[in-house]
């Protein structure tokens, strides 16, 4: 079992699966309605400098979101094992 990371801790280009969404009611509802769900495969496309936002692609649904670091830190992910399929 691998340790869960938050989105900010992922390297650019790394793929991961969302395992939990923290924060309050409002934040969770927003994230969910914009299309990030538990179990979705995501990839960090780029991270802007000076603690700017991350650009994240939802690989299952094929769209991109810019997500501020504070918010990205509330999204926990796990990195799938090499060669393992879900």
């Amino acid at each position: 079992m691998k340790v869960n990371k938050n989105l900010c801790q992922l390297a650019v280009g790394q793929e991961a699966v969302i395992v939990s969404i923290g924060g309050g009611h409002g934040f969770r509802s927003r994230i969910l309605s914009m299309g990030l769900h538990l179990g979705d495969r995501i990839k960090v496309l780029r991270a802007s400098p000076f603690r700017g936002p991350l650009l994240i692609e939802n690989l299952d649904q094929g769209f991109c979101l810019a997500l501020g670091r504070g918010m990205a830190a509330k999204v926990l992910v796990k990195i799938p094992e090499e060669g393992a399929s879900e």
Partner: protein, 640 residues
Amino acid sequence: MSKKVIALVGQPNCGKSTLFNVVAGYKASTGNFPGVTVSYAESPVTLGETTFRLVDLPGIYSLSTREPAERVTLEYLLRKESHFVINVIDATTMSRSLELTLQLMELELPLMICLNMVDEAEKKGIFIDPKALERELGIPVMTTVASKGWGVRELFVRALEVMDEVKAKPPQYSLHVEREIGRVESFIMNLKLAKRIPLRFLALKLLEGDEYFTSLVREEAPHLIPEIEECINRLVESHGQPPEMVISGERHALAMHLFERVAKVTARAEAPSFREKLDAVVMHPILGYIILAGVFFGLLYLTFFVGSFLADQVAGPFDRLTQLFQGKGAWSPFVVGVIQGIAGGVGIVLPYLIPLLFLLSLLEDIGYLPRAAFLLDGLMHRMGLHGKSVIPFILGYGCNVPSIMAARIIESPRDRFITLLLASLIPCSARTSVILGLQAKYLGPLWAMALYLVNILVLGFVGFLISRFHKEESPGLILEIPPYRLPTFASLWKKTWHRLKDFAIYAWPIILAGSIVLEVLTYLHVDKVINTLLAPLTVWLLGLPVAVGVTLFFGIFRKELTLIMLFQALGTFNIQNVLTHTQILVFVVFVTFYIPCLSTVAVLWREGGWKVTWASALLNTSLALVLAFLARFVGMAFLH
């Protein structure tokens, strides 16, 4: 007369506004930016022998009540103002879009689906069977490519055919959830609230813990709240998740299941797409900012070059025409006023307006604005805001009115307050015509660019100061970055034309009337009174000729008026002969910053209340006084 009303609902950037514009003849503005339709647009549409009203509602991700745009849409639907709803779906992100569809079905409205951008979806390897989707959902489904006009006519023909027969049935969830829905329904079924809101929808909202609907129930029947909370707790216990995640998870699973049943996905190409390659440059940590600065100043330079070329073509003839009528009989002030008013519109304002609005539309439709928001997010945090505020700011260079309305996409009230306040400081196209028509023309384009730069620095500084006093964590950026889209020239031109039409219809009469009034005032020597009253400001503080007082007074109505009337008040189109370079600089700086025009003030009041309106008027005026006064010394040092 009861014309049928059809409403378009969909997620941001699904092509809803494009679809609207295809049939409505460009009465609404669209943009490749999530959430550009902040207030809804409507237009009559005639199809064959039937005429109906088409309403374009703001793009929303879900039927919640957190953001103003979402509330506008949900309230509109709950009031049942429309007879029929078309849910527009971006076929490239269909499974996410279906989650909104499922919520719309919970409202039990007459509903159908427009599956848009099917061409792009197929390019991505997603093939959707509309007939299968129709069977699964039990409501009509039509496919379109709105940007090319494909399938649009068929969509509305079908809508008119079925609108009286179709009604969506709410989707069924898992047993656990259904049981709690049933319980909550039995608690609330006799409430007055349940008469205007579908029972099942209301029950689901309460189970999700929606604050707005919970507060409505608390008002009417506070004793029900503990019982509802009990249902929520049971749901949380059985699923081990917060309630909104349980419900949204159910919808998500249902949407994915639907998607798998109606769509075939072929393997996606692994090579980096065009979008990824372009984003690697446009959103690059260093190159991205160079491009951003280039785009910004390129926009202004190009506007100046095209604008001054056009202005030169028409200035001469109007000047000769004016001289022809000057001082000829009792009607002369009236005739001269009319000529000057028309000349002001055609010869001074329009030349700059056309290229500026066209280029802004281009930036918007290509999808550059969200990328600018991404790049500037870090910087905006220093001002206590986040990247989304960049979008109203950029739109503000066209006109402050839509930019202030666009601030509705900002989630937190505090962020919205600061954004509204700062947005009114952005030099709009009217102020740009003053800056370019005077400062760039007589002092050189670099002086104009410097003024824009100073404006941005002032904006940043004011934002920084306010965020010191108004400390509160900004919620941070969540923004969809849509794919690049290449707009057609025709659609860009129509959009520009639509905005120009606004100028012709609303601004021109005011300019015309203002010019006539000024001529008459001059004839009756009343302008002298205004000028004398304003003399302490104009002459003493700013060192301007006494005659400009009246132009500043009329500038409150429309900012272009200051420029047009300056020519009129000084009696020549050759400003250089009557004003020194320093005086031009001071005048332009003052006009750029002082009180926003009347329409901006009105929309500020509506969107933000009296507090932000007064704050803005006070801030603008004091900035104008200080900066224009400082400009005198800058002028003395560097100009003559």
